[in-house]
Symmetry: C2
Subunit: 330 residues, 2 copies
């Protein structure tokens, strides 16, 4: 039937015919079968999303899905897996369903990328978010943890702080996200000059860790007046210790966390924290994916998304007493 023409709207159809078709469709409860269309066109307008469903990436999922919908795409979802072969299986499921492309977002601790290289070489459009592999050819998005940590410390130095500490994580942590935060901190110190020794407390990254690490750090380096934590949880632990030691925040010790989870605005005092462009990463990632499937001029292949500092009471950099203030971390 040339009812197809009516629904695709590509070729011209007489108005009267169109109406006849539409009313008939209505009456019969007709619904276009996307499967048949996909089979014929070998184009499914379906994308694969391999992403950890969790607090962290939820915003990215939303962003990606929103952009996909705008372009007429829908996502097939699967959870990632640490072991590359298991992940491979899941991707295979998606490929049997003939996804047009793949958006992958795993923790920054993924180390095997061989199967991604294979995917790319087979010509599958592929975009990764926060995946630390070399430039194999597919498009990648990153968050600028290093720059963010560095900028926060620099702001403190500019505000007159002379001893800035870091708590949580370890320099050899499996997650690059953690390592970069430490590197950024150290970079700022290095650039400040030799007069500024590091004051580091490494270990876990949960509130109890933050509590213990901060206590030990302050014993070793009593002169610390500002403390950057590897994440909000660690920072919340630091706040506990500071309170117990009767150090005021931010007057005696300023504190900044990382990630700006709900922990930050719930803390006492409200915790200033570095916030990343998570929603944006999903949007851009999906846009890039669509751009690889449909004709598009853009050829950018790697992008590092900026983070900002959400200033609340804890950091001693606030302009206003209440509320939040966003500072760029260029």
């Amino acid at each position: 039937m040339t009812a197809s023409r009516v629904f695709t709207g590509k070729s011209p159809v007489a108005t009267t015919t169109r109406e006849r078709v539409l009313t008939a469709a209505q009456r019969l409860g007709y619904r276009p079968n996307h499967l048949a269309r996909s089979l014929r066109q070998s184009q499914t307008r379906t994308l694969g999303m391999v992403i950890t469903a969790g607090m962290w990436y939820a915003q990215a999922m939303r962003g990606a899905e929103e952009i996909a919908r705008e372009h007429g795409y829908t996502f097939l979802y699967t959870h990632p897996h640490n072991r590359a072969d298991r992940e491979q299986e899941r991707i295979e499921t998606l490929r049997q369903r003939r996804v047009d492309g793949l958006l992958m977002m795993s923790g920054s601790d993924a180390h095997e990328h061989g199967h991604l290289r294979a995917l790319h070489q087979e010509g599958i459009p592929l975009v990764t978010i926060n995946r630390y592999c070399e430039d194999i050819g597919f498009r990648r998005l990153f968050f600028d943890y290093r720059q963010a940590a560095c900028s926060v410390v620099q702001r403190w130095l500019a505000a007159g702080h002379r001893r800035v500490g870091f708590v949580g994580g370890t320099p050899d942590h499996p997650q690059q996200a953690v390592r970069e935060r430490i590197e950024g901190y150290r970079k700022a110190l290095r650039e400040a000059g030799a007069w500024m020794p590091a004051a580091e407390g490494f270990g876990g990254a949960f509130p109890d860790d933050g509590e213990a690490l901060t206590e030990a750090l302050l014993r070793r380096c009593p002169g610390v007046t500002a403390l950057l934590a590897v994440n909000d949880y660690t920072a919340a632990g630091a706040l506990r210790t500071l309170r117990r030691l009767q150090r005021r925040v931010p007057e005696d010790v300023a504190v900044v966390g990382f990630d700006d989870t709900p922990v930050a605005f719930s803390a006492d005092p409200p915790l200033s924290a570095v916030r990343h462009s998570i929603l944006e990463s999903g949007r851009i990632g999906c846009r890039w994916l669509v751009g690889q499937i449909e004709p598009w001029e853009e050829d950018e292949r790697t992008r590092v998304l900026p983070s900002v500092l959400v200033v609340r009471r804890s950091c001693g950099l606030a302009v206003e007493e209440r509320g939040e203030q966003i500072l760029p971390l260029g």
Copy 2:
């Protein structure tokens, strides 16, 4: 070709033939086309997931996807929408892709359910999680907020508390989740007897609200020795006020939050909180869905999932000093 038999494995194939087929497939880089199979069988082994990507439901997504994978199903994901007609559109997209069933999980503030009734009447397998609509016929999962709130208060009463308060939310809040928590609190007081007057502070449900509401409540009812909050954020705000007023937690005032987000274990002192069976809801929801598609005996249609109390320092019910302890809220 009867290569199909090799891959489906249903009918018997000679071992030599199987091997010939498999090696040929290997050589040609053959990958079964799930679309064609779906088209032929009019069964896609694909399910629709309409769910808010966010901290709250992430665990449910994981649970659902895990069960789906075990049964050979994959999820198409779409974000829900408050307006029923917009949501309808998104569901229509999924239906054109011929999903075998639909798992829906929205906030408890969805009020229009007409399109769900239509779906069910068309025979679409459908399971909702946390959606407060009457029993139309499809399967529904709920969390037992009312019972949980009631049980926490009862435990306090049993422990000797004589004035238990509630902060956050309003009795006419659009989210039934909020209303149920308040109802549970009131139920416990009612059952305790007339000697136990309510001590309620209603309003918002963020840390700043918790802070203000708690201060006002303690002024009105100074005798309150235990405080249940509508969620963790509000509870965190309550902790701020209690500290400022120099009331010790839990010695002077015990506090319990709701939802057991990371805010709870990050608080000072660590916040005891009601935790719901989110992961389990996703698993059961998906299992039910599959059960409607494939032959299954089970005919349970509505289930209320239990919550537990995660006991940390803040609530005065702890047996051990450190760590977490799980108490059932039957």
